[in-house]
Amino acid sequence: MKVSVVSRSGREVVKGGIELKDSAKVADLQEAIHAKTKKYYPARQRLTLPAQPGKSGKPVVLSQKASLSEYCEKGSGSLTVVFKDLGPQVYYSTLFFWEYVGPLIIYPIFYYLPVYKYFGYEGERVIHPVQTYAMYYFCFHYFKRIMETFFVHRFSHATSPVSNVFRNCAYYWTFGAYIAYYCNHPLYTPVSDLQMKIGFGIGVVCQIANFYCHILLRNLRSPTGSGGYQIPRGFLFNIVTCANYTTEIYQWLGFNIATQTVAGYVFLAVAAAIMTNWALGKHSRLRKLFDGKDGQPKYPRRWVILPPFL
């Protein structure tokens, strides 16, 4: 079949179009486009069907594993696809690694090295036990995240735009330094022993719960990485759609109860807001997909992210 590839402004991206076997898949089309255009590797391509005049709504994105013939107009042997360049891409695992390695290195710098000298605090620093535990806790958290990135998570999209590396690293690294500065400060005031134990206790329990949530989510997807959505089940997912975010938020709450810094609580608020945003999107996507029609199960009534609020 003949596939013509046009940009959103109508210009032909591949002159003369591409000839493919009738049985070809979308992935074959992507390879062919890459061969013809050199710089647009498949991860950078976003292929959609042309918008129907009069019909509004999101354009149909071509799924990589699908057959091209599924998208052809009935009967015709040709297809027009609209091409969008997503820009240079990096693997999600690369993105996550660089985001998380920052705090992992930055926090110990504030703990071990005489950084506060440069902020005008001369002399010996007294280190309280809670500050040591906080350092281990914080670093373990980000170490765990890196391990999960490489060994646990199964990503639906393999890549993310390069610009996200700068944006996300700025977020994690800046907050990491902000929290580390106050937690390791020479004039740090620790909370009571009991409060520290409660805080870290909550944190550890929630980190374990969070890890288990990640394992459950991993098992929803097959190793071939076909992505797609399933109804999450088991453990906390039976009551909350995004139990992984819930446990993550409570884990940071535990850290903050133990360390009591405004910086930590600000980070908690911002992180919770971001995750809530994601959770709302995921929850509504799942509800739309699992609407109880056409043989799809109906998505059960669940909290979105933070019972009893949302």
Binding site: H185, Y188, T189, T259, T261, V262, A263
Partner: protein, 263 residues
């Protein structure tokens, strides 16, 4: 029902925009008169109250965006209003030593001209979108203005009035204002931004010495706030922030002028 709601919205926004417009017109007037009377040192004292009122009133615009009364994204208005309030209250009002600097004059003039154009543009946009009865009111006003103009010009020789082609008159007036709004920023943004950065820089030694707005450690919440470093970082933010706002306005200009051409 929807018609009434939309009319109330338009009335409110018209009143809001015109009131703030008058505020900024005052600021410009007092600034120029003070400048001509006594030189740049006296400008701040002359404009302080209307400046603070007009600038602080702009906080309403964030509310308007959040509630959905206007279409501007909060992400665009927030940094603009944030920097204005920072300068107005956090630098000029808080540190009187900066008030006699010549940059205050360039700041106030850049801001007031920009805002006069902006608020009259929005005021007109909201007012013109009105129900016909208001448009007739405007027609009457324009008619009277033209009549006055003719009377003065021809001093008794009352030539027959030219037929008022209201639509095209208003249209060319709005287009002129549009071009004004989307062109003057090319000078006023750089002068405004440079004045802002300059004034923050001038204030730095006074901030450090006065230790105003400082929270020191140790305290129960392990929190500290150093206004000096915050201001220094603010200057740093202007480095990417300024060009970003400028290119945003350039894009807005392109959009608006191409729309005006096809209209």
């Amino acid at each position: 029902m929807a018609g009434v709601g939309s009319a109330v919205r338009r009335l409110y926004l018209s009143v809001y925009n015109w009131v703030v417009f008058v505020g900024w017109a005052q600021v410009l007037y007092y600034a120029v008169t003070a400048l001509l009377d006594g030189g740049h040192e006296g400008v701040y004292a002359a404009v302080e109250r209307p400046l603070q009122l007009a600038q602080t009133a702009a906080v309403m615009e964030i509310l308007h965006g959040l509630v959905g009364l206007v279409r501007s994204p909060v992400t665009a208005t927030l940094p603009q209003i944030g920097s204005r309030l920072f300068l107005t209250w956090g630098i000029l009002w808080s540190f009187p030593e900066t008030q006699s600097h010549i940059l205050v004059t360039s700041l106030v003039i850049s801001w007031s001209i920009t805002e006069i154009i902006r608020y009259s543009f929005f005021g007109l946009k909201e007012t013109l979108g009105f129900a016909p009865s208001w448009l007739l009111w405007l027609r009457l006003v324009l008619f009277l203005l033209q009549a006055g103009h003719h009377l003065i010009k021809f001093r008794g020789n009352l030539l027959p009035f030219q037929k008022l082609d209201l639509k095209s008159e208003l249209h060319s007036f709005v287009v002129a204002l549009l071009i004004c709004r989307y062109s003057t920023f090319m000078i006023l943004y750089p002068t405004g931004i440079l004045s802002e950065v300059g004034l923050i820089y001038i204030a730095l030694p006074y901030i450090k010495v006065s230790e105003k707005y400082f929270v020191k450690m140790p305290n129960k919440w392990n929190f500290s706030f150093d206004y000096f470093y915050t201001c220094a970082i603010a200057i740093g933010v202007y480095v990417p922030g300024g060009p970003h706002m400028f290119t945003y306005m350039l894009a807005q200009r392109k959009k608006a002028l191409s729309k005006a051409k096809t209209a």
